[in-house]
C-alpha cells in the first residue's frame, strides 16, 4: 500500500493526521506547504493526497493543478478550514472529496477508505 501525502501547515493538525493514518494502518508523509508537496509528488507516488488549501508559499490550488496535470490518478481530498466561497471554486476531477475543518476523524477515515478502495479499519 502506498503512503498518504498529508499537506498541512498547522503542526497540531499534522500530528493528528499522522496519528490517525497510523491508527488506520496507513503510512503517511507530511508536507508543510504546496512546494514541498509538489517536490514529493515529483519523486514518488501516493495512495491519496490530504490537502489543506491555505498554506504559505504555494497554496493547495497549485497542488491540485499539478496533480491534475502530472499525477491525475492520485485522488485528492481537500481538507480545509476555508468557507464555501473558497471550496465552491474548486473544479477539478482529481478532487474526490472536500472535508471541512474541524472534521470528524471517522468521517475522514471513511472518505479515505472509499477513495483508496481500502477497507475501513476497525474502531
Amino acid at each position: 500500500m502506498k503512503s498518504v501525502l498529508i499537506v498541512e501547515d498547522d503542526e497540531p493538525t499534522q500530528l493528528l493526521l499522522v496519528a490517525l493514518m497510523r491508527r488506520n494502518g496507513l503510512d503517511s508523509v507530511v508536507a508543510a506547504n504546496g512546494a514541498e508537496a509538489i517536490n514529493l509528488l515529483m519523486s514518488r507516488d501516493f495512495a491519496v493526497v490530504i490537502l489543506d488549501l491555505m498554506m504559505p508559499t504555494v497554496d493547495g490550488q497549485e497542488v491540485i493543478e499539478y496533480v491534475a496535470r502530472e499525477k491525475e490518478t492520485i485522488p485528492v481530498i481537500v481538507c480545509t478550514a476555508a468557507g464555501p466561497r473558497t471550496t465552491d471554486a474548486i473544479d477539478s476531477k482529481v478532487v474526490k472529496a472536500i472535508v471541512r475543518k474541524p472534521f470528524d476523524i471517522d468521517d475522514l477515515s471513511a472518505i479515505i477508505a472509499s477513495v483508496t478502495k481500502e477497507p475501513l479499519p476497525r474502531g
Partner: protein, 683 residues
C-alpha cells in the same frame, strides 16, 4: 498831487501849479473814465460830456453836445416817455435812479445804472440836470447767468423723478418738494409741505425717535446716511437709501437740511434675488460636496465591508484550524493506548491549539471593546523590567521552536512607569510574538528599552522578512495583513497591531513601525510618556495565560466548601475535577433552583455560578442568595463568558472569572476570594 499830464488834455488846463480842487472840479469830472457824466438842460439837451461818456456811450463830446439825452433810450422807453418822466421825477424829487437798457452810438445795448440829479440855482429853481451813468452790463450778465443757473438747477431738482429731493427746515418740517418726492412718496407738494418728515417713517421708528436722531446726527456730523424701510402716503413700505445733509449759512447758522431719498426696493429685491441665487448655488455646491463625501464614504464603507467579509472568512478559518486539532485529538486519544508515545505530544498540541484559539477570541473581544468604546484601562505604577521579562518568557517557547535568538538590551535602570500593566505586557508580547512569527528559522529578535526624562521607549527589532513600503502605512489598520487569505504564510487575524496601536494611544503613547523594505527586518517602537501614578508597582504572573504550570496548585482549597452552578455539564465536570484536585469539597448544581436546594442542605463557603442559565440566571441567583439571612459568609463568584456588563458583574458578585476556564488559575482565584475575611458582600 495827481499828475494828470499824460491824461487826455482837459479843457482849461492851462495851469501847472498846485490844483485848486474847488476850482478844478470840472476838470476831474471830465477825466473820470468809469462814469459817463454829462450835464443836461431843463429839457434834456446835452450840454457837457466827459471822457467816461465818450467811452461808455461811444459819442465824442462834439457829437453829443446839443442833442437830447433821449437818444440813449430804446423805442419802448421812448414810447413810454421814460426820458421825460425821469426828468420830471428828478425835478420833483431832486434825483432819480434807474437801472435799465440804454443804447450806445453803434446801436448796441448796455445795462445802465443812471442817476439824474436836478441842479438848482440860488433861488431853488431847477436850471438843469447832471446825469451819471454807469455801465453795469457785465455785472448784470453775471447776475443773469447766476439766476439762470439757479433756475435751471431748481427746474432740474423739481424735474428729477428718480430721487426725492426736498428740504427740511431746522425743525424737520418739509420745506420744498420735488417731482421725485411726489413720485416716490405719493404726496403732492401742498399735502406735505409744512408737515414733519417723521411722516415718512414707521410708527415704531417714530416711537423710537429715529427721525429726530437722524437730524441730530446730520447736524453734528454734517451728514447722515442709511438704508431702511420708509412709508409711502398709501401706507406701503419701500426700501430707501436716505442722505440727510445739514445746510448752514455763511455765518454757520443751521438753515435746514436737504434730504435725498432713493427708492431702492427693486435693487434690494434684485440684491436679495442675487443673494438667494448665490446661496442657492452655494447650497448646490454643498449638496454636491456632500454627495461626493457620501459617495466617498459609501466607497469607504464598501471597502470596510469587503475588509470585514474577508475578516470574517479569516476569523472562521483561524478558529476552525485549532478546533481541528482539539476535536480530532479528543476523538482520537481514547482510541490510542495510554502508553502511545504520541499521547503527551497530542496533549501539548491540544493545549497549543486551545491557547491559540483563546488568543484569537481575546483579540476579537478587544477589538469589539475598542470599537464600542468599552475598553477600560487600569493605570498604575508598573515595574517595566518585570513586564518586559514576563512578555519575553511567554514568547520564549515559540522562539525556541524556530531556533530564534531572543536578545534583551535594557539600558540601565528602567524603573517604573504609569500604565495598565496587563495591557503593557500584552502590547510588548504582541510585538515580540509578531517578530518571532515573521522571522525565519535561526533569526534574531531584540527587545530593548530606554528611558529618558520624559518618555519610555520599548523597541522590538527583528531581522525577518520586513515590511513592504506600500503596506507600511497600513500596518496598524485592523483586518489588514500583507497577504491575501489564500496565500498567507502566517495565521492570525491581523488584529494584533491595531490593538497595540489603540492600547498605546489610549495611554497617551505612540507606536511606530520602520522597515527598510522586504527582507530587511523591521523595528517596532512603543513610546510611553512618563507620568507617575504614585501607586506601588504591581507584579504579573508569567507564562501562558491559559496553560499554567500544574505545580504549585497543591491543596490550596483544602476544606473549602464550594457549590458550582452551571447548566453546561462539561463545565461542571471540569470545575469539579479541578477544585476537587485542590482539596475543595465540591457539589454541582445544574440550575439556580438546584443550587438553592444545595444551600438549604448545607451552606458552602463559595458559590461559583454561571450567569446565562435558563429559567433563573446567575444575577437572580446571587440576589436570592443575598436575601437569605444565613448567607452572609457565602462568597458568590460569577463565571462568565460574557465580556460585557462587567460593571454589573462586579457589583453583584464577590469576584468574577472569565471563561474559558484555566483550572489552575481558577483554584488561585477562589483561594484569593476565600482568604479575604469579611461577611458583607462587596457592593
Amino acid at each position: 498831487v495827481a499828475d494828470t499830464g499824460d491824461r487826455k488834455p482837459l479843457r482849461s488846463s492851462g495851469r501847472t501849479a498846485a490844483i485848486d480842487f474847488a476850482d478844478e472840479l470840472p476838470l476831474f469830472i471830465a477825466a473820470v473814465q468809469d462814469y459817463a457824466i454829462f450835464g443836461l438842460t431843463e429839457s434834456g439837451e446835452i450840454r457837457s460830456w466827459n471822457s467816461g461818456a465818450d467811452r461808455i456811450m461811444g459819442y465824442t463830446a462834439a457829437e453829443a453836445v446839443g442833442r437830447n439825452f433821449s437818444m440813449f433810450y430804446g423805442p419802448a422807453d421812448l414810447e413810454a416817455r421814460k426820458p421825460q418822466r425821469e426828468l420830471e421825477t428828478a425835478r420833483a424829487e431832486g434825483r432819480i435812479q434807474d437801472e435799465g437798457w440804454r443804447l450806445r452810438k453803434d446801436g448796441s445795448r448796455f445795462w445802465a445804472n443812471t442817476v439824474i440829479t436836478a441842479l438848482r440855482d440860488g433861488d431853488g429853481f431847477v436850471r438843469g440836470f447832471v446825469k451819471v451813468t454807469q455801465d453795469l452790463t457785465k455785472r448784470r450778465e453775471a447776475e443773469e447767468s447766476l439766476k439762470q443757473s439757479e433756475e435751471i438747477f431748481r427746474l432740474l431738482v423739481a424735474a428729477v423723478k428718480d430721487y426725492a429731493i426736498f428740504m427740511l427746515n431746522p425743525e424737520g418740517l418739509v420745506a420744498t418738494w420735488n417731482a421725485g418726492a411726489q413720485a416716490i412718496k405719493g404726496y403732492a407738494p401742498e399735502e406735505i409741505i409744512g408737515r414733519y418728515f417723521g411722516t415718512f417713517y414707521s410708527e415704531a421708528d417714530n416711537r423710537a425717535g429715529k427721525p429726530d436722531l437722524e437730524l441730530r446726527i446730520a447736524r453734528a456730523e454734517g451728514r447722515f446716511e442709511e438704508e431702511g424701510w420708509r412709508i409711502r402716503k398709501d401706507g406701503t413700505r419701500f426700501w430707501a437709501n436716505v442722505v440727510i445733509t445739514a445746510v448752514h449759512d455763511e455765518k454757520g447758522v443751521l438753515r435746514g437740511f436737504t434730504k435725498v431719498t432713493r427708492d431702492i426696493t427693486e435693487r434690494k429685491r434684485a440684491d436679495e434675488v442675487q443673494r438667494a441665487l448665490i446661496e442657492q448655488r452655494e447650497a448646490l455646491l454643498k449638496v454636491e460636496e456632500e454627495h461626493r463625501l457620501a459617495e466617498a464614504s459609501y466607497h469607504a464603507a464598501q471597502e470596510a465591508n469587503r475588509a470585514k467579509d474577508e475578516f470574517l472568512m479569516t476569523l472562521s478559518h483561524e478558529l476552525r484550524t485549532p478546533m481541528t486539532a482539539i476535536m480530532g485529538w479528543a476523538r482520537l486519544l481514547p482510541t490510542l493506548s495510554p502508553t502511545d508515545p504520541v499521547v503527551p505530544q497530542a496533549l501539548a498540541a491540544i493545549a497549543r491549539s486551545a491557547d491559540l484559539q483563546a488568543q484569537l477570541i481575546d483579540d476579537v473581544l478587544d477589538v469589539s471593546r475598542i470599537v464600542s468604546g468599552k475598553l477600560r484601562l487600569n493605570i498604575q505604577e508598573v515595574d517595566v523590567g518585570q513586564v518586559l521579562n514576563a512578555a519575553l518568557e511567554t514568547v520564549r517557547p515559540s522562539a525556541a521552536a524556530k531556533d530564534i535568538t531572543l536578545v534583551t538590551s535594557l539600558a540601565g535602570n528602567i524603573g517604573s512607569i504609569a500604565a495598565d500593566p496587563t495591557r503593557l505586557q500584552q502590547m510588548v508580547w504582541n510585538l515580540i510574538a509578531n517578530a518571532v512569527k515573521f522571522t525565519p528559522v535561526g533569526g534574531r529578535v531584540e527587545l530593548s528599552a530606554r528611558r529618558s526624562a520624559s518618555r519610555l521607549d520599548i523597541s522590538v527589532k527583528d531581522d525577518g522578512q520586513g515590511i513592504d513600503a506600500d503596506f507600511l502605512p497600513h500596518i496598524f489598520e485592523p483586518f489588514r495583513q500583507a497577504e491575501t487569505p489564500q496565500t498567507r504564510v502566517h495565521g492570525g487575524l491581523g488584529l494584533g497591531l491595531s490593538i497595540v496601536r489603540y492600547l498605546i494611544e489610549a495611554q497617551g503613547g505612540t507606536v511606530t513601525a520602520e522597515s527598510e523594505g522586504k527582507g530587511k527586518g523591521a523595528t517596532f517602537t512603543l513610546m510611553l510618556p512618563r507620568a507617575s501614578s504614585g501607586k506601588a508597582p504591581v507584579h504579573l504572573p508569567t507564562g501562558s495565560r491559559y496553560v499554567s504550570e500544574p505545580e504549585g496548585v497543591g491543596r490550596k482549597l483544602e476544606g473549602v466548601k464550594i457549590v458550582i452552578v452551571d447548566d453546561d455539564v462539561e463545565t461542571r465536570t471540569l470545575v469539579l475535577a479541578a477544585l476537587g484536585h485542590a482539596g475543595a469539597s465540591v457539589r454541582a448544581a445544574a440550575s439556580a433552583a438546584e443550587a438553592l436546594l444545595e444551600l438549604d442542605r448545607e451552606l458552602p463557603d463559595v458559590v461559583l455560578t454561571d450567569i446565562a442559565m435558563p429559567v433563573v440566571d446567575g444575577y437572580e441567583l446571587a440576589r436570592k442568595i443575598r436575601e437569605r439571612s444565613d448567607s452572609s459568609g457565602v462568597k458568590v463568584i460569577a463565571l462568565t463568558a460574557f465580556s460585557t456588563g462587567e460593571g454589573t458583574v462586579r457589583q453583584r458578585f464577590d469576584a468574577y472569572l472569565n471563561k474559558p476556564i484555566d483550572p489552575f488559575s481558577l483554584v488561585d482565584s477562589i483561594a484569593a476570594v476565600v482568604s479575604v475575611p469579611g461577611d458583607a458582600p462587596a457592593g
